[in-house]
């Protein structure tokens, strides 16, 4: 027997060479679709990683009421440390707050001239345990802190974190809805292009059927063709995305870099890249499968 895998590979490559234009069309369509999908994946991936980094950095600042004696502060500090979900608490005196502001303002610290530290409130800088660094848990801790009468105000940028979480969720949702629509369109286009390929080879298929070729001998080369198209299309998409990513990084403006505060923009992790490649291959096979189901029934 001719080795079946060898036969189907040779046949698939012959088919591709003989139908170069439909094959290039399919590869191009898969590449564009996968590029759109993987671009959304990349954006969502980076937004998620930003969110994680910011969640890790999240602090609760509890501003104390003015005029609280230091002896009360010590007791309050102890009580706060005992709250569930708290990892560390440090006391920031008005003087420390002034030094911090001066450091932040840098060369513009003269803006603070004439302002006495006593106008600034003392505060607790509260670090949370890892499992408490999310919007739900942080609200619970904030609620408990609010029960202390000595605390005037609590800030932890909750609105910002929540808004950002919503953006990330919307991005993921858009990615999958758009992905689903693109997927449907892609399967439709691929299967129709395959029908063209199959139609152009109908004489050959008729002969194969006549001489007793098994359905696998007829169909599998088309599926392998779809697999190769999907792999090449997804591969091109990943390469294009990588190029676009590199260009984006290269042309990132200093103001954007500042806004990102040292957080690096990442490319898709290898496992996601492999999933995209596998997805492309799966789509190619599925498209050829739909087309062959319609056209190659008679031999079974």
């Amino acid at each position: 027997m001719i080795l079946f895998p060898r036969y189907v590979m040779v046949r698939a490559l012959q088919n591709m060479r003989g139908n170069l234009f439909p094959n290039l069309t399919n590869i191009g369509i898969i590449a564009i679709t996968m590029l759109i999908f993987s671009a959304f994946s990349l954006i969502a991936f980076n937004l998620t990683s930003f969110l994680k980094i910011w969640e890790d950095k999240i602090l609760i600042i509890a501003y104390l009421k003015k005029g609280i004696p230091l002896s009360t502060v010590e007791g309050l500090l102890k009580d706060t440390r005992q709250l569930e979900g708290i990892e560390a608490v440090s006391y920031i005196s008005p003087f420390d707050a002034m030094v911090f502001m001066e450091t932040k303002l840098g060369s513009q610290k003269n803006l603070l001239e004439g302002i006495k530290p006593s106008v600034l409130p003392s505060s607790f800088e509260i670090q949370l345990k890892k499992e408490y660094r999310n919007s739900t848990k942080i609200n619970e801790v904030a609620f408990r802190l609010k029960q202390f009468p000595q605390i005037e105000e609590i800030q932890y940028g909750q609105e910002w974190v929540e808004t950002f979480s919503v953006i990330v969720h919307l991005m993921r949702l858009t990615q999958w809805i758009l992905g689903g629509l693109l997927l449907a369109a892609l399967i439709f286009i691929i299967s129709n292009t395959f029908q063209l390929t199959i139609t152009s080879r109908r004489e050959e298929i008729a002969i194969m059927e006549m001489v007793g070729a098994s359905p696998a001998f007829i169909k599998v080369p088309f599926h392998i063709e779809g697999l190769i198209q999907g792999f090449l299309g997804a591969g091109v998409a990943i390469l294009l995305l990588f190029l676009l990513y590199k260009i984006f990084i290269l042309y990132l403006t200093p103001s954007m870099r500042g806004w990102l505060a040292g957080i690096s923009i990442l490319f898709l992790p290898p496992e996601t890249t492999i999933w995209i490649l596998l997805g492309g291959m799966g789509l190619g096979v599925f498209g050829s499968f739909i087309a062959s189901m319609r056209f190659l029934k008679r031999n079974e």
Binding site: I2, E203, A206, E209, V211, G212, S214, F217, R298, E300
Partner: protein, 225 residues
């Protein structure tokens, strides 16, 4: 084949109550004018069409059994010569014949050997590397026959194999079939050429408008003529 009907839409009866039995090793002509149902009968025998009613057994396989689904396995036991030849015009003689072995999983060495052998049998050993387009009508017909025979099937079904050939080519092609018959193969030829039938002493099943007409041998055909 027992009480076979083939009815196309609009109640067009291609075959009406056809019953026949062809024994192993027999040479049989299916005769009749154009539209009499000869091709439909052959198509049913090699499962290109399903009968509307009736029972058909080919090479011991009940092809009208609803559970039957291995058409390709049955087709490996028969050599089919189609009316339109079905040759790959962009390939060589060797590729066309070898194709039948290639797609049924034979090793390359065996393909080469069998192709050479069959080309010698049909007298076209010199044309092995030539393109199909460079062959005459008779040569193409012989290549189609060679492809049908290369798997060494016990049953040969040929639909109008001499329809487009001149007298000498017809003799050459018929010699291939008679040689096969002498080697013990079952040969079924559908033809409307009554002169051809008269020249060979074989069984004749005649169809008229989808019905069987009981003239049994070419001698009787000769007498009728």
């Amino acid at each position: 084949m027992s009480h076979v009907f083939k009815i196309y839409p609009n109640q067009i009866f291609a075959l009406s109550d056809i019953s026949l039995e062809i024994s192993s090793g027999e040479f049989t002509f299916i005769a009749g004018p154009s539209g009499s149902g000869k091709s439909t009968l052959l198509h049913i025998l090699f499962c290109a069409e399903k009968p509307t009613r009736g029972e058909v057994v080919v090479n011991g396989v009940h092809i009208t059994d609803p559970k039957f689904n291995k058409v390709y396995q049955l087709r490996r036991t028969m050599g089919i010569v189609s009316q339109d030849l079905k040759l790959l015009r962009d390939r060589t003689v060797r590729d066309n014949i070898g194709f039948a072995l290639e797609v049924t999983g034979h090793p390359l060495g065996e393909i080469k050997e069998k192709v050479s052998e069959i080309l010698w049998q049909v007298g076209l050993q010199e044309r092995e590397k030539d393109s199909i387009l460079s062959l005459s009508a008779g040569e193409r017909q012989r290549i189609a026959i060679a492809r049908a025979l290369v798997n060494d099937p016990p049953l040969i079904l040929a639909d109008e194999p001499t329809g487009i050939l001149d007298a000498q080519m017809t003799v050459d092609v018929m010699k291939i079939f008679t040689d096969l018959h002498q080697k013990g193969k079952t040969v079924v030829i559908a033809t409307q050429d009554m002169d051809l039938i008269q020249r060979y002493p074989y069984r004749v099943i005649t169809l008229m408008e989808g019905r069987r007409v009981d003239i049994e041998t070419s001698d009787e055909v000769r007498q009728e003529a």
